[in-house]
């Protein structure tokens, strides 16, 4: 990775900044012309006078009477110069709301991502070693089934099974609001993690295992593995020492990518299990006509997608000697 690489990265970074800027601006324009935050106030009972509604909206940079370009200018300069994403429609700071939600999403996704990556990789590699055996065929059909199942169906099926078994596992929200004391909140929290984690696990592990199975099959047919066998290694040694290591490399960028995108949350899972994270916000900000929140999510997601892309490229370059040269 010499100077060429550095310049290449710099050029890409500049391009990325422009991309994020355009993506975020576009989303903001679209959101502010389609969403109507005023509805939230008109539907209040008793309805506040129109003039005060407009005053409130103006103070939050949401007033439809202000020209769109002017609102956009306020929004973008606040972000660029003060790092301030504005206020939600009900007057809270978008920044602090986002911070809270990122934390929730991270807690929800961290365990799921790590567990599903490791087990997905192991499962895929194992299936590749036993290609076309019954276990591999069953795994294949099961993973097709899981890949064809939409997330809400998986989540709600789990809830239903839990209900039928007499609710051994609590699942709505982050923890039981009635829990008293730190310890019981923590245990309740752990319990509430179970079902969403299984949901995410089923989806992610399947994805990883299919991918790992493919790369592993490639490696198993390769010449260097035959060489390893020829020089006297047992099949197990050859596969573990030379095969798996090579086959995991292409999966690593995917892992890095997923870890960075932890913070953007899991829309369906959070919504269904009542976790107030970033994924839920994605849906709620639109249904609540919350223009500034939509804008903030757009910026945040775009930045993370690009960081994740860049990082996973770097990881790949670091791991794969062919790219390094």
């Amino acid at each position: 990775m010499g100077r060429g690489m550095g310049r290449f990265l710099l050029r890409r970074a500049v391009n990325y900044v422009i991309l994020v800027f355009i993506a975020a601006s576009f989303t903001y324009f679209l959101a502010s012309s389609y969403l109507e935050p005023i509805v939230n106030f008109l539907s209040k009972h008793p309805q506040p006078p129109l003039s005060s509604i407009h005053n409130i909206l103006r103070s939050r940079n949401l007033d439809p009477n202000t020209p769109l370009v002017q609102r956009y200018w306020t929004w973008i300069t606040n972000i660029l110069f003060h790092g301030n994403f504005g206020q939600t429609f009900d007057g809270n700071s978008v920044n602090s709301e986002m911070g809270r939600r990122i934390f929730v999403s991270t807690e929800l996704l961290l365990v799921a991502t790590l567990v599903s990556t490791v087990s997905g990789v192991a499962w895929g590699a194992w299936n590749a070693l036993r290609q076309y055996r019954p276990s591999d065929r069953i795994s294949t059909v099961v993973s097709y089934l899981l890949l064809a199942t939409p997330t809400p169906v998986i989540a709600i099926s789990l809830e239903t099974v839990d209900q039928w078994m007499g609710v051994p596992v609590q699942y709505t929200g982050m923890y039981d609001p009635g829990a008293q004391g730190t310890w019981s909140v923590i245990t309740s929290n752990m319990q509430h993690l179970i079902l969403p984690t299984i949901t995410l696990f089923l989806i992610q592990a399947t994805l990883f295992s299919r991918y790992q199975r493919g790369t592993m099959l490639d490696v198993l047919g390769s010449d260097f593995l035959r060489t390893a066998r020829a020089k006297g290694l047992t099949r197990r040694q050859a596969v573990l020492k030379h095969g798996l290591r090579t086959a995991v490399i292409p999966v690593m960028p995917l892992l890095v990518y997923n870890i960075v995108l932890l913070f953007t949350g899991a829309t369906f899972t959070e919504k269904i299990f009542g976790w107030h994270g970033m994924g839920e916000w994605l849906v709620d900000s639109i249904t609540q006509n919350d223009v500034n929140a939509v804008g903030a999510i757009a910026v945040f997601t775009a930045v993370l997608v690009l960081i994740a892309g860049l990082l996973s490229d770097l990881v790949y370059a670091a791991l794969d000697p062919r790219v390094r040269s």
Binding site: N15, L19, V20, I22, A23, T27, L30, A31, L35, A128, Q131, Y144, L145, L147, A148, T149, P150, T151, P152, V153, I156, S157, E159, T160, W164, L200, Q204, L207, R210, Y211, Q212, R213, G214, T215, L217, D218, G221, P253, L254, Y257, N258, L261, T267, F268, K271, I272, L282, V283, I286, V294, I297, A298, T301, A302, V305, S312, D313, Y316, R322, V323
Partner: protein
């Protein structure tokens, strides 16, 4: 499927076989290989049954999806209502078939449409190169960065004045990027082939070259991709409809049915699990067919086949450079966003 290779006496075999290989076109070969794939044939069969069921069965049912049976409000499956009824007393079988119609038609239009966009963009970028390539690839990157779920959710409900056809176009407009990249890199290797050069030097219109010489050469990938995109479009349709951002009120899709049935999934499972089951069944069939097509088109190395098999929306047998692979990884992972 063994009868496809007829039992012939040993002495005629070589000649007979030779004749056969000479006369079989590539299309016929692919079809034969496809027909040998049991899972794929099951997929085709079930999908055909679903199509017929969705479009023909409603004519034979006692209840339409708009009728309310006031004597059966939210009842479990029985002899009159095979799939039960929902709370307003609408027959779940009629509703499910209606939803299946919409989901099927959205998938069957949206999938190929997505591939078409990808093919046009990818082939133009790869063939013309230069600034056209740069602009198209830049748009492609932008589309990957733009939070597609957010934009779809913003735009789709506002199309209510139009028909669901706009919605299909919108879904396709946000799904073509990965395939386009693959088509582009394949076009770049194709465009210096002799027959393409010959056509170009004869002054053939570039668009004609793309349609006559480039795209047919990537047809196998496009066909497989179109199949896989059917599943992808149906999944994103049902996801958006689930949140109320997709198909709007008087219209029904399996996604809206799932959303409606969700609160009662535990107490009245028929309201949720019938539509959900059909959605999964449909996705499964499409996946099997896509898989079968891929195997049928790809007679080469088992390794290549397996890579391609690994994940939906996969690349073709022609893999890109390692860097290209990274890009496709990340883009694949992005689908995980929809969890």
């Amino acid at each position: 499927m063994t009868q496809l290779v007829p039992d012939v006496p040993a002495d005629v075999l070589p000649e007979e076989k030779q004749k056969k290989t000479r006369t079989l076109s590539r299309g016929a070969l692919v079809r034969r290989r496809f027909r040998r794939n049991r899972l794929a044939m099951v997929g085709v069969g079930i999908l055909a049954v679903l199509l017929v069921g969705a479009y023909v069965l409603p004519y034979f049912l006692k209840f339409s999806y708009t009728d309310n049976d006031w004597n059966a409000l939210g009842t479990a499956p029985d002899a009159t209502h095979w799939f039960g009824t929902n709370h307003p007393g609408v027959d779940m079988l009629a509703l499910t078939m209606r939803g299946l119609q919409k989901s099927l038609v959205i998938g069957l239009i949206g999938g190929p449409l997505t591939t078409l966009i990808a093919a046009l963009v990818g082939a133009s970028a790869g063939y013309f190169g230069g600034w056209i390539d740069r602009i198209l690839m830049w748009v492609l990157e932008l589309m990957l960065v733009v939070p597609s779920f957010l934009l779809l959710a913003l735009i789709a409900p506002r199309l209510a004045g139009g028909t669901w056809l706009y919605f299909v176009v919108l879904l396709s407009a946000f799904g073509w990027m990965i395939t386009a990249r693959v088509v582009r890199s394949m076009t770049q290797t194709l465009k210096d082939r002799e027959y393409v050069l010959a056509a170009r030097y004869m002054g053939v219109n570039p668009l004609v070259i793309i349609f006559r010489h480039i795209l047919p050469n990537v047809a196998s990938i496009l066909i497989v991709d179109a199949t896989i995109q059917v599943g992808a479009v149906v999944l994103s349709e049902s996801g958006l409809s689930y949140f109320g951002f997709g198909i709007q009120a008087p219209d029904i899709s399996l996604g809206t049915l799932i959303a409606d049935g969700q609160p009662d999934a535990t107490t009245s499972p028929w309201m949720f699990f019938f539509p959900a089951g059909f959605l999964v069944l449909m996705g499964l069939c499409v996946a099997f067919i896509g898989d079968g097509l891929r195997d049928a088109f790809d007679p080469t190395a088992a390794g290549a086949k397996a890579v391609v098999k690994s994940i939906k929306r996969a690349k073709g047998p022609i893999a890109g450079s390692p860097a290209q692979d990274v890009v496709s990884n990340t883009a694949r992972a992005e689908e995980g966003l929809a969890s």
